[in-house]
Assembly symmetry: C2
Homo-oligomer: 537 residues x 2
Amino acid sequence: MSSLHGVTWFALSVSLAFLIGPPGALGGNILVFPLDGSHWVNMNLLIEGLHTRGHQITVVRSSSSWYIKESAPHYHSISITVPGGMDIEKQDFFSSLLVNMLKIQREGASPLAFMSYYLHMLSGLSVMHRQASQFVVEMFENKALMQSLRDSRYDVVLLDPGLPIGVLVAHELGLPTVFNVRWITSGEGHFVVAPSPVSYVPTSGCITSDQMIFSQRVGNMFMYLLNRFMAIDRFVVSPHYDRLVDRYFEPGIKFYHLLQGADFWLMRVDFVFEFPRPTMPNIAYIGGFQCKPSEPLPTDLEEFVQSSGEHGFILMSLGTLVKNLPVEITSAIAAAFAKLPQKVIWKHLGKRPNGLGNNTLLVKWMPQNDLLGHAKVRAFVAHGGTNGLYEAMYHGVPVVGLPLLFDQFENFLRLEERGAAKVLDVTKISSQSFLEAIQEVLHEPSYKSNMERLSRLHRDKPMHPLDTAFFWTEFVMRHKGAAHLRTESYRMPWYSYHSLDVIGFLLTVLFMVVAITLCSIRFLCLRLCRNYKNKQE
Amino acid sequence: MSSLHGVTWFALSVSLAFLIGPPGALGGNILVFPLDGSHWVNMNLLIEGLHTRGHQITVVRSSSSWYIKESAPHYHSISITVPGGMDIEKQDFFSSLLVNMLKIQREGASPLAFMSYYLHMLSGLSVMHRQASQFVVEMFENKALMQSLRDSRYDVVLLDPGLPIGVLVAHELGLPTVFNVRWITSGEGHFVVAPSPVSYVPTSGCITSDQMIFSQRVGNMFMYLLNRFMAIDRFVVSPHYDRLVDRYFEPGIKFYHLLQGADFWLMRVDFVFEFPRPTMPNIAYIGGFQCKPSEPLPTDLEEFVQSSGEHGFILMSLGTLVKNLPVEITSAIAAAFAKLPQKVIWKHLGKRPNGLGNNTLLVKWMPQNDLLGHAKVRAFVAHGGTNGLYEAMYHGVPVVGLPLLFDQFENFLRLEERGAAKVLDVTKISSQSFLEAIQEVLHEPSYKSNMERLSRLHRDKPMHPLDTAFFWTEFVMRHKGAAHLRTESYRMPWYSYHSLDVIGFLLTVLFMVVAITLCSIRFLCLRLCRNYKNKQE
């Protein structure tokens, strides 16, 4: 068996480029609805590739977006002006959430504090979806724009359904849809399209693994009901869009069914990272599609890295929100770093921490993938965004986690469960506890070996995830949809889907059979008794 | 979009052979437990390929098997003698089932006749599983054999779980398992491993599509319960193996859990054919993996085929059971054929039908794939085994169906629903009705165009299904399993899996909260009233 060899993505990409058709020979026409903010990084990578493969890309953006530029070599854009702009383009919402979250964590999560945070988040989400529905209205009311979209004869609408603007536009234009998705209106994407037994599938917002004790299952069910029925779908998301569906589309259509009816789901998930769970034939997994082999570093960075000698270096990045971290926390981290023999490269945007060691280099930007793929990297201190974690996994670098917000806690739980990360509570860390955590990850070989095992599994695929994304997008274009891979079960009433009507009917029949049998027996007995008595008399 | 091009499997195979590693460089060691009979054709194709890729194959067979030869260039075998032999090797069981089935169909399916047929089938199945469990005992009691299996250090057990002998042996040897499966002990393979909402997933034995009216859903639920709990698992299959599990393995293990715990499922299903339904991360779809481009015909057959001129030819094969078809049926078919301008090639094993036309050639064997891929083929008359139907689909040849037994009715339903087949009741056909059916398929262009659409969808895959099978088998060998793709949910009690305990708990809490609130209000009201009365008094 030792001669069995794994396949590397690099070799795969080369041969698959040939396999799924040469770039330039395809020439489809793709309408893209990206999500603003960090999601744009993912979508941009996908459309860059699709453009290289010969497709024309049109991106629909908000005219005030500063992430999604008005023009780029690989796409042209249509800009829509929403009165008052879109909150998702603004940092304020996320910043205030972070402050709120840190406060809750520091003071101990009382149910009241949690509810206040949850309501804060919901009201923010509701505003975002109201703005997104207004975005749709601005498009639909612009008859010239809609006509030009019809005239452009797009083959497919590619969209991030976090804000489902493209779902409605695709229905109006009669076009098939491909989702580039992990989070959707009401949480993790699978919950909308695949059976999700909450007995072992953790709900978005529940920091549990797929093996839960009873109390965790109760919490998971509670959170599921809260997300699915109470808060998000019923009151926060769907109403905004159902209003539009009633106004613009034929009767009988529900927004949620349009969402479920996507032709194909490119799920930014890999089961090396995610817990295994049921899936559907029209889902392909592209988790880690942004990962690629590292390239040589710029000279100054390479020199710094080489100066670390045998000790190697540590990488730290807490994403773009880190400037809001209190300076006492960053200073504690800096002091811990100063005690290490390793060099440290720290992507830092906010106020300079105190007590920074000579071994630590603060940078505003860094080639993260190239550093994670460097032979001298020893550990990665991260906030737990999936892009960074997949890159760490791809390169087999163990992680020290400082989760701050959103899915970051759940993401780390997945690495922690596999013994590939050590996670700290950012509101409670001291210089000493941070130092101990770093040293544990550096010196306990299981962290490294577990992450390398994940890396081997993650890389061992029949096809690079990015090529998977290209293949299925073009499949939907070639065949004008993928109806044969999509169940229409969601059109059934919920009680029929769960067979409650059938179970009710069968139980009724059973009850009647038993009742009639018992009555007949009773009747016969009485009759016999009476006959017997009559005879005796 | 017209320049978007599909990919053909032929081109894919060439590049994928490189992509998933060159043959000969791998050198794994595979223990194979095939199912006797027609399933062997599928398994043999798979192990031929694995042998070409450099693996050593050991096939475990019954010493009296006449399908599975004792030796072949691509494998060596271990022969086990089961006292009395194995019924699955004998034609009698299937022949008597066919006779029974035809009788029921001809006389109209009364519930009593159906129950008698069902019980006949169950008792036959029970005997087969008793023999299979005896097969396991013969192996386990042969200490020398088991030791030599241990010493051989196999990397994986590849098996057809129709008779799950290999599941028990793999557990005893501590080896990972790969299933080559469509049918498993209790019906279609998915039902064992994936969520299967019976509201839209037809159960094995139910001739319904995925869109059922209420009465069909009742029938589907009834059949599901019958298969899953009453007949097959509880009484017909599991007891034979649970006895062995209790005898040979540590306590707490259940046979059904071993079955569900397979590392990887190579499902002989394609969703172009099968209705879409939930699936799992450790299932790959290899339906149609036997399909390949046609090769030139032998000269005499090519001459016969060319003599059909513009009319082309019709192919007919009803599998190996056809010799038991009454001669009045085959003669009616022959008479209809005689009236056609097409030529006919008929694979026929039984008594020669009367009234055979000059245009009809009876053969004992034919190169079916090469004929189905021939430019002059116009239609295929088939009994509905999946191998033949997938080949017809691959080559885009419309089908006239004469289903006889087992899954053949369900298989045709799937093609009929897509408008690619015309199905007849074999017990009721006359020469005239058969002629009309053939002419409809020949002259109504929708049959051909629908089958060609299925063909395009079926061929448009990122990877040939056979390469998919190789990739995942070797994946399990490389990583000694695929635990990260497998849920362990089946180890939960059924009420926990379905969250019934959690729902019960939440309802109890809700009830108590409501009750306490109501009691408190009542108590307060009474108190207030009393105070008021006291005051008044």
